[in-house]
């Protein structure tokens, strides 16, 4: 058979590698800043653009979408061409994808510090950027499917299946979770409210971890680990089972992020069961990776590429065992809202994603520049300093999480909460926060060492922009291998089946919660927010308050007694029906705020937001001086009202015309209140709106009887 001469496009891979390294350094540096802010609040700089609430989403978005995302594309573009024995479908689409993605990152880097955010975790970007993400993602998928269709290799290796699943699932997740109604060019409200919004968000959030941080990297593992070890994967059979069971089971597990919340019990249980089931495919995949090195363990001692990969795959195994354990309700009762979760995600992020990326880069860069790695010694230094960094990051966070949680739950012999002041439980763990910053610094230092090493490697070699290869054209007849074998030759059918697999779990969990009324019992006294409170809520969203404060009192004695000692009410599903978006939060660095309405005087909030440390001695909360100078934009009020009415909030027709009158009255009341206590403030100042919102939180239920089934 005559061989065709083709070339693989390394240029696009090189571009993605460069931006990965740059954004890795940027994203981790921002993370380090956020870590320092938590024990040294001065580093918030009293500047609105650099406060923790805005910096944290910048860090998460940068490392997930810019660092890990670009690395994924580098690995996919490299391996896909070689596995399918063809150049990418279109070089132009590759570059549109590349530049489009970088522009999205740039837009995120500008808008997040400006406070333009939806507040939904890992989906913070506002609607115009959401549309851009969808378009660029389609370009990536188009290029990928095009490449698959013009392949010279009839059967798609398992890595390709993981890439296909990544493309279609992320598309579905992103579109469903980003349903929002625009108010202005950079402001929108989630289409869903309260419990439903929470369910959709964590169906998205959990599966973003699954299909952005896991499946593409499993595909990369199945390609690069055998290449680096120079031996085929341990069991191809296992990889087939791994793929189908993983993509089917993963999609169901989202509700484990909402245990003990107002989410219906059946949905919580479903999330737990499927999380436990996930151990099987995850560990199957981990063992398949590790056993690939059978007979090559001596090389692991010397080859930094294999070292990074072994720790990455081990971290994957650890994180995917820990995840299901955290989803058990009794473990979750302790771990949720604490730093334990931060430890968990960083074992995954730093260990699995980070180390796999480093291993792949140390392998790919010398090959693409036709040379040897500049310094194996430096790579080994990177390996050890990185490993130590992970340890110093994760261990203090585990301790911090458990200590704080136990302090929250401790009672005196008389039956009172031991640590009445939430702040005591935070200041107790500040030394752990400091150690965590040490861990982060070590890890980041390792990345700098790698950057130096890779640059020196590139300079020592000559870049092979187009790697020549000789391949046979695809034969039309398939070798006999059974029906799944045939399926691997039919990418469109394969994609459709994978889509069905991921849709089932989503449909079964989401649709009943939307359609069956008893899932969200209504509470007659819960009313929509007033116009001023709406402005206040939008400021709460803008400042990222949700990053440190939950709005979900769980049905535990310790929480009810702490947050609502008078009425003893935990948070009910019916209280959130007008919350577009929901603001339950996922971490309590400060106390829960769902029952904060009426607890303190307006003047307390006034002084607290201006200088938290003066009101609560030792507080690590940033100050918000700009809220006292900036005025709310009343012209936006009608737009906010009509947008919310569109998504189902029962404001009367035409209310937008008179809404500002109500706003003025409420603002004047609060400002007069403050004046009586000696604080002069314009009624239009943002702080007045924020106080109005905080004073509203959780008070509707106090005068209330629950209609329908209590949750």
């Amino acid at each position: 058979m005559e061989l065709e001469k083709i070339s693989y496009d390394n240029k696009i891979v090189k571009a993605f590698i460069i931006v990965t390294v740059i954004f890795g350094i940027v994203g981790m540096t921002v993370g380090l800043l956020a870590a320092i802010q938590l024990f040294y609040p001065l580093w918030n700089f009293d500047l609105q653009y650099t406060t923790f609430g805005r910096i944290r989403p910048l860090h998460t978005n940068a490392v997930i979408f810019a660092f890990v995302g670009n690395a994924m594309f580098a690995g996919v573009y490299y391996s896909m061409q070689r596995l399918l024995k063809t150049r990418m479908f279109s070089d132009m689409l590759s570059w549109v994808h590349f530049w489009g993605w970088q522009l999205i990152i740039l837009a995120a880097a500008i808008t997040l510090p400006l406070g333009l955010t939806t507040s939904k975790e890992y989906a913070e970007l506002e609607w115009p950027i959401d549309i851009a993400i969808a378009l660029i993602w389609v370009v990536f998928g188009w290029n990928m499917i095009g490449t698959i269709l013009k392949r010279r290799e009839r059967h798609m290796y398992v890595a390709i299946w993981f890439y296909i699943a990544t493309f279609i699932t992320v598309a579905v997740l992103h579109i469903v979770n980003s349903f929002e109604i625009p108010v202005t060019l950079f402001k929108s409200y989630s289409w869903y409210a309260g419990v439903q919004d929470a369910l959709v968000q964590w169906w998205y959030g959990h599966n973003a971890v699954a299909f952005f941080l896991t499946t593409p990297f499993l595909g990369l593992m199945y390609y690069f680990l055998p290449k680096a070890a120079d031996r085929p994967v341990y069991s191809y059979r296992l990889s087939i089972v791994h793929f189908w069971s993983l993509i089917f089971i993963y999609i169901w597990a989202g509700p484990h992020h909402l245990l003990y919340t107002a989410l219906p019990d059946w949905a919580q249980s479903l999330g737990v069961v499927f999380s436990i089931m996930l151990i099987a495919p995850s560990w199957g995949g981990m063992l398949n990776g590790l056993l690939t090195l059978r007979g090559a363990w001596d090389r692991v001692r010397e080859d930094p590429v294999l070292k990074f990969m072994v720790v990455a795959v081990t971290a994957y195994g650890m994180a995917t065992l820990e995840g299901p354990l955290l989803s058990l309700k009794n473990v979750n009762a302790i771990a949720h809202f604490t730093d334990w979760i931060i430890a968990h995600v960083h074992v995954g992020g730093l260990g699995w994603n980070g180390f796999l990326i480093f291993g792949i880069f140390y392998w790919m860069v010398p090959k693409m520049w036709g040379t040897k790695l500049y310094s194996t010694k430096l790579a080994n230094v990177h390996f050890w300093i990185g490993t130590l960094g992970i340890m110093f990051y994760a261990l203090p966070m585990y301790i911090a999480g458990v200590v704080q949680s136990l302090m929250w739950k401790e009672f005196t012999p008389d039956g009172f909460i031991t640590y009445q002041n939430f702040l005591e439980t935070t200041t107790q763990i500040l030394p752990m926060y400091m150690l965590r910053a040490v861990g982060g610094t070590l890890y980041l230092t390792g990345v700098f060492i790698m950057t130096y090493n890779l640059i020196k490697t590139a300079y020592a070699g000559k870049f092979v922009a187009n790697e020549e290869a000789e391949v046979a054209p695809m034969t039309r007849t398939a070798a006999s291998g059974g029906w799944h074998h045939a399926l691997e030759g039919k990418p469109v059918l394969f994609t459709a089946l994978a889509l069905v697999a991921i849709l089932i779990g989503g449909i079964i969990e989401l649709v009943p919660t939307f359609l069956i009324k008893s899932n969200v019992p209504t509470i007659a006294s819960v009313k929509p927010y007033t116009p001023l409170e709406l402005h206040g809520r939008d400021i709460y969203i803008r400042e990222g308050c949700v990053g440190c404060h939950s709005q979900m009192v769980r049905p535990f004695r310790s929480e009810v007694q702490r947050y609502d000692p008078v009425n003893g009410e935990y948070s009910k599903a019916g209280e959130f029906v007008y919350d577009h978006p929901f603001l339950w939060g996922s971490k309590r660095t400060g106390p829960d705020l769902h029952r904060t309405g009426g607890k303190y005087a307006d003047s307390w909030h006034y002084r607290h937001m201006l200088a938290p440390g003066d009101v609560s001695n030792g507080s690590i909360m940033p100050a918000y001086p700009w809220l006292y100078e900036q005025m709310i934009d009343k012209e936006e009020t009608p737009g906010k009202i009509s947008a919310l009415r569109t998504v189902g909030v029962p404001y009367a027709e035409g209310y937008e015309e008179t809404a500002n009158d109500d706003l003025d009255k409420q603002a004047a009341r609060i400002s007069e209140n403050l004046q009586m206590e000696g604080y002069e403030i314009a009624p239009e100042a943002e702080i007045v709106a924020l106080i109005a919102y905080l004073q509203r939180l959780g008070i509707d239920i106090q005068s209330e009887k629950v209609a329908g089934v209590p949750n």
Partner: protein, 63 residues
């Protein structure tokens, strides 16, 4: 709005059931196939990463 769309699909409750049955059967079939699959085929598939048509001698060793 999305609620109205969902409500207007006839017998929407049957869809998850059907899809679950399809997938469950697919999975059983998959397991059966995986354990009876031809060994030569499996070993061919697992060799795919090494068949990119690039001449070996152009690939420098790391060490």
């Amino acid at each position: 709005m999305y609620k109205d769309i969902l409500k207007n699909i006839d017998n929407i409750a049957i869809w998850p059931t059907i899809s679950f049955v399809i997938f469950f059967l697919f999975f059983l079939g998959l397991l059966w196939w995986v354990f009876t699959a031809d060994k030569v085929y499996l070993s061919n598939m697992s060799d795919k990463p090494f068949e990119d048509g690039v001449k070996k001698d152009t690939e420098p060793d790391l060490k």
